[in-house]
């Protein structure tokens, strides 16, 4: 390669463009504007590896490396400066860094500009001036780019800190000479006197504006100074704290963030202090009435107070920040108002258990004179085909092509239906296949849900408590646990049955006289089929079980066993042992 190649990257709005303009004063260095070189090299490497003609062996690998070097040379053939600094966020990636290290001469060196993350986000908000801050923060590509850059940088910096020189925006503004000296030492450049009172940013700005097809994307003044104060706390409001992420490049954290009331509310609720959590909910209502997370949480407490309609209305406000685990479906049709007749697309959302719960509303919507098409995860389609009220079922991916007049969000279907507590129907709605029964009672066990979510919801209990609670019962036990890693905790006296599909699970559940389960999708299926089901719940349960007591209006066949103290799971299992010993009729064969 004819030039020495280094790299420049940065979190958006952290000064990388400014730094480019400064470094370009140096006759020894050329800093590119945002470059596509990384993508071109990645494209070449991927093509090389995936193409059968270009067999990927040692010889071909040497050719690939040489081709990549040639590509870099061609890219910068018009530049007569000995040191090239290619600017792109794409360079921050472990695989890319490893591959490029083989291509360039010498060590991979990258300068990365960083800044207090909320200030970067606030700059993006100031630039975009969104009408809806919540939607912008949740969905806008620029915010997603910022998040992914931060996450990638944290990951690669952790493993290869020596490859990076981190330049903080504030330091660059306050003490540019020190930062430029650091850069020179890092890149082993000869010394150069930069003029911080005469910075020409016109070239890089023009190129970036052409690239991003927008004006005034950045503003570089000739004299180095902080351009404007950003009051990120005011601009970002309730989004401020989530962006206060660790400044991992510092040995000691600089900012100590006080927990937000929403965090305190969650902490109180997890430990069962619902009075304090409700006090905070009321406080947040006054102080941050439009904070969608606070509104969503308040909905949970209204459900706890049996105010079903109000609770669901408030929870629906959380949709904009993705509280149900799905982004807003890309549908141009209006949301159903509960009265209009036509074809209604019932969009089932959240996890599989959520969807099994929500499909019940097809019947209620159909009773209003509508034809209901259900959109759900592909694996559940067969379960829902014969649910009352369902006209047809499509999987989510096919949803945009389905003709309909209105759509309903499954989690919020109660809102247009206008339901209150007395309108909720706990009867079975998923059909139960006929199963062969043996002479012994059969109990199905499910001790853990999706391992990705268990800890988050504080519902993971020590599995041995469940096995210990039931081991003395004269019954046959089957495992309803599908995940391979979790199955390892299953004793040999608990039988395994096929659970490869949801149809298998339906058959397995149907064969049980009783299902004992953590709050999982299997418990929803069991309840939806009307099978007696005992559900073990954490102190802070899923919203369907917010209302106190051991029964729920959503599933008549459910009995709830609640954790009584955070961190302590023995109490609900002692009750299960007791119930199994004193109420054996509950698990009598009923088929």
């Amino acid at each position: 390669m004819k030039n020495k190649l280094h790299f420049l990257s940065g979190i958006p709005y952290s000064g990388s463009t400014l730094l480019s303009a400064i470094l370009n004063q140096n006759p020894q260095t050329h800093v590119s504007t945002t470059s596509g070189l990384v993508h071109a090299l990645a494209g070449l490497a991927n093509t090389w590896k995936s193409n059968e003609i270009l067999i990927y062996n040692d010889d071909e690998h040497k050719k690939l490396i040489q081709n990549m070097r040639n590509m870099i040379d061609i890219c910068y053939e018009d530049i007569d400066k000995p040191v090239i600094i290619d600017k792109s966020r794409g360079w921050i990636g472990p695989n890319i860094m490893r591959s490029v290290s083989k291509v360039i001469d010498g060590q991979f060196k990258m300068i990365v500009t960083v800044r207090f993350l909320p200030d970067c986000v606030a700059e993006l908000v100031n630039f975009a001036k969104p009408n809806n801050l919540d939607e912008f923060i949740e969905l806008d590509e620029s915010i997603q780019n910022l998040k992914s850059t931060y996450i990638s940088l944290e990951e690669v910096y952790k493993h290869k800190p020596d490859n990076f020189l981190i330049v903080e925006y504030e330091d660059l503004i306050k003490n540019p000479k020190i930062q430029l000296d650091r850069i020179h030492e890092f890149l082993e450049l000869p010394s150069f006197e930069y003029d911080f009172n005469n910075i020409d940013g016109s070239k890089v700005l023009k190129d970036d504006e052409n690239l991003f097809n927008t004006d005034e994307f950045h503003d570089i003044k000739p004299v180095l100074a902080k351009q404007k104060d950003v009051n990120s706390k005011d601009i970002l409001q309730h989004h401020y704290i989530p962006f206060c992420q660790p400044e991992f490049w510092l040995d000691q954290p600089r900012t100590i963030i006080e927990p937000h009331d929403i965090d305190l509310q969650l902490e109180a609720a997890i430990k069962g202090d619902f009075a304090e959590a409700w006090r905070l909910a009321e406080k947040l209502e006054k102080e941050e009435p439009n904070n969608p997370r606070a509104v969503f949480n308040r909905g949970w407490y209204y459900l706890r107070q049996n105010q079903v309609q109000k609770g669901y209305q408030l929870m629906d406000a959380g949709r904009v920040v993705g509280v149900f685990g799905n982004s807003k479906p890309n549908l141009s049709s209006p949301r159903w108002d509960g009265k209009s007749k036509g074809i209604v697309l019932l969009y089932l959302e959240g996890g599989l258990g959520d969807q099994i719960h929500q499909v019940r509303y097809a019947k209620n919507i159909a009773q209003r004179g509508c034809k209901v098409i259900v959109a759900c995860s592909g694996s559940l389609c067969s379960l829902f085909a014969d649910v009352e009220g369902v006209s047809s079922v499509v999987q989510h991916e096919a949803m945009p092509g389905v003709h309909h007049n209105y759509w309903v969000a499954g989690m919020s279907a109660v809102v247009p239906l206008g339901f209150e507590l007395s309108d909720l129907d706990g009867s079975a709605y998923i059909s139960k296949p006929t199963s062969i029964t043996g002479s012994k009672k059969r109990i199905g066990l499910r001790w853990q849900g999706n391992p990705d979510f268990e800890s988050d919801h504080h519902k993971l209990f020590p599995f041995e408590l469940m096995f210990s609670a039931i081991k003395d019962v004269d019954a046959e036990f089957i495992s309803l646990q599908r995940d391979a890693t979790i199955k390892n905790s299953c004793p040999s006296w608990v039988k395994t049955v096929p659970l490869n599909t949801w149809e298998d699970t339906r058959n397995a559940v149907a064969s049980c006289d009783l299902v004992i389960s953590a709050c999982t999708s299997v418990s929803h299926l069991s309840g939806a089929m009307g099978i007696p089901t005992w559900v073990i719940l954490p102190v802070l349960p899923y919203f369907l079980y917010a209302k106190e007591g051991n029964k729920t209006p959503y599933y008549d066949s459910f009995t709830l066993f609640r954790q009584e103290q955070y961190g302590e799971w023995k109490a609900p299992f002692n009750k299960i042992t007791q119930s199994l010993s004193v109420e054996p009729e509950k698990i009598r064969r009923i088929k």
């Binding site: 020590p462 041995e464 408590l465 210990s468 081991k471 390892n488 905790s489 004793p491 040999s492």
Partner: protein, 138 residues
């Protein structure tokens, strides 16, 4: 075990336990320099062709604290799983939830103390390396 290398144009072309009819075979021995247990490991090797027999010299790489921590935590988790597996094989009348609970608490304590360490000295003071390499399953 005997080791042989085949040298062609001053480069090692083969390294194996037996020779064949091709020319250039020489005896070789492995040289593993002393390492500091739990802090260093042998990595790649180089050939010293000036020695007879040829020396296959292993290089030494330092084990980063985080890597050692991850290994210790993984072994702690594996030990817990082994105890669960023992219980799983028992008849239901012998199933001992307390044994699993105790093992879980021990695992959690170990992991918390490993997490708290930031240096090899601190990890040494836990004295977990040998204990986890040679667990006693009760």
């Amino acid at each position: 075990m005997s080791l042989y290398v085949r040298i062609e144009d001053g480069e090692v072309k083969n390294c194996q336990g037996t020779t064949d009819d091709r020319p250039g075979w020489k005896s070789a021995v492995e040289v593993r320099p002393t390492i500091i247990p739990h802090r260093q490991a042998h990595s790649n090797h180089i050939f010293d062709l000036t020695k007879d027999p040829v020396e296959i010299i292993y290089l030494i790489e330092n084990i980063e604290v985080d890597v050692r921590k991850a290994g210790l935590k993984s072994k702690s988790e594996f030990l817990f799983k082994q105890i669960v597996e023992i219980q799983n094989l028992l008849d239901r009348s012998q199933y001992n939830a307390e044994a699993i609970e105790t093992a879980r608490q021990q695992m959690n304590t170990k992991i918390a103390s490993i997490d708290a360490c930031t240096t090899h000295d601190q990890l040494d003071s836990l004295a977990l390396d040998n204990q986890l390499d040679n667990p006693v399953l009760v």
